[in-house]
Symmetry: D2
Subunit: 145 residues, 4 copies
């Protein structure tokens, strides 16, 4: 049984995904969204590589940033990224399927901290720390949520 | 008159751009590359927006990461991003033309720090700090550079 | 029963603490050290405050950086901090007792990522992400460990 | 001739320094403060070292964080650090004199980005990027500034 909070999180992610340009353009798939949590996947395409022939840091960041957005908006409070830091730990090539888990680490007032881990299988590709700020309005207008 | 070091930087950027999937896919234009410096531009497309209707953080990061790569590889020493942090200061909408300056701030041994500033006109959209690590081999094979 | 790996972690932390200037000077107490994990505590003193009368960011960072060091050296492989990012979520006043948990999040080759959380009671004061690099030599010379 | 804006910046720094616990405790010296800029110095003491016998990352961060505070409060608008990232590029030993320049890189609304560079002579020890948020009240009460 899915809790009402987790059902809301899934509806918010669907609502955002439908209005978003980037995630569909990158072929991002939503594997799971719960309150304060999201798990996405994306397969590295040739147009996502850098001049060294491996996945571009910007694409790893983008996957993690998508997961961050679904996790930090999951309570239907519109929330934006204020800042982020990312550490690149291993490379990935075109054809590899990347997954990203987004986990809420702290929430104090309007500010939150989330940790995203991008993996290819068990290998960690990058760890991303995101700082969020809630705007105070709903993502899905009241009455529709 | 362009110095030999700046000419090499421009050739390395062309070499990387020709082998790269992401920068051409995003419509990134190289405006200027010098030793330890790069300036790129990119126009925000609808497929670069997030669920709030503004440019996705991943796309702002990607533009800055491209500029970072050209600046930190500019001496024809293959160099990769190890980590990065980004602060988002203002939003940008589809149709806006973003520019990014990449400036070398410090270089000690194999490690470097670069600062990228993404702007829409004079407005600062984001500031990105990148940490690089030199691999020690050339980008353009010796004899061709 | 403490595992041999956790016993080693505790011995390494004692070894480092005995040679360290800062942690004793700040009154840092080691509450627990295990393989890949450390928990420290420190009480905010008046000489740790900033011009706004609250704990200085440098002192919050220092506590977390100490915990990071014990966690990333816990396998008796000398390891240094390469970079770190910190998000400040709430303030703390002189007299408050801060705790910090350091948790290993990823380890690939010589690089690691650790997450430190500084709390005053249940309130999160800061979240710190640290990037480590192993130097390959032991902390406690072989034969003594 | 010092401009009124730079005179105000110097008065704000003196006001903060006089109320601050940490900077005097660390022996920090204010070398210069102007609008959006500060330059400090500090000599590494034995009680500022880590278990590897070199300056503790927390002390390098603290020096940079002090410089950040004077630079971002320089217009007499109370401003706090929200987040920071630091890259460590070289070590320093007890007895070395460190300097730190704090430079304003961007200011949009209540948010700012500052870059601090810690050096020992010409060698760069660390680069620190700070994210600030203005609180909207003066540092020195109106009528006294």
């Amino acid at each position: 049984m899915t809790s009402p909070a987790d059902q809301l999180a899934a509806r918010v992610a669907e609502h955002m995904f439908a209005r978003e340009g980037l995630a569909p353009a990158l072929g991002v798939e939503i594997e799971e969204v719960r309150e304060g949590y999201a798990r996405l996947a994306m397969t590295v395409r040739p147009d996502m590589t850098n001049g060294h022939g491996i996945v571009h840091g910007g694409m790893v960041f983008s996957l993690a940033d998508c997961a961050f957005a679904y996790a930090c908006n999951s309570r239907n409070v519109a929330t934006v990224a204020q800042a982020a830091s990312i550490v690149f730990l291993s490379a990935a090539e075109a054809g590899e399927r990347l997954t990203c888990d987004a986990v809420e680490r702290a929430l104090e007032g309007r500010s939150g901290v989330y940790e995203m881990t991008v993996r290819s299988g068990k290998r960690v590709v990058a760890v991303f720390q995101g700082q969020s700020r809630a705007l105070g309005k709903p993502v899905i207008p009241t009455g529709e949520a």
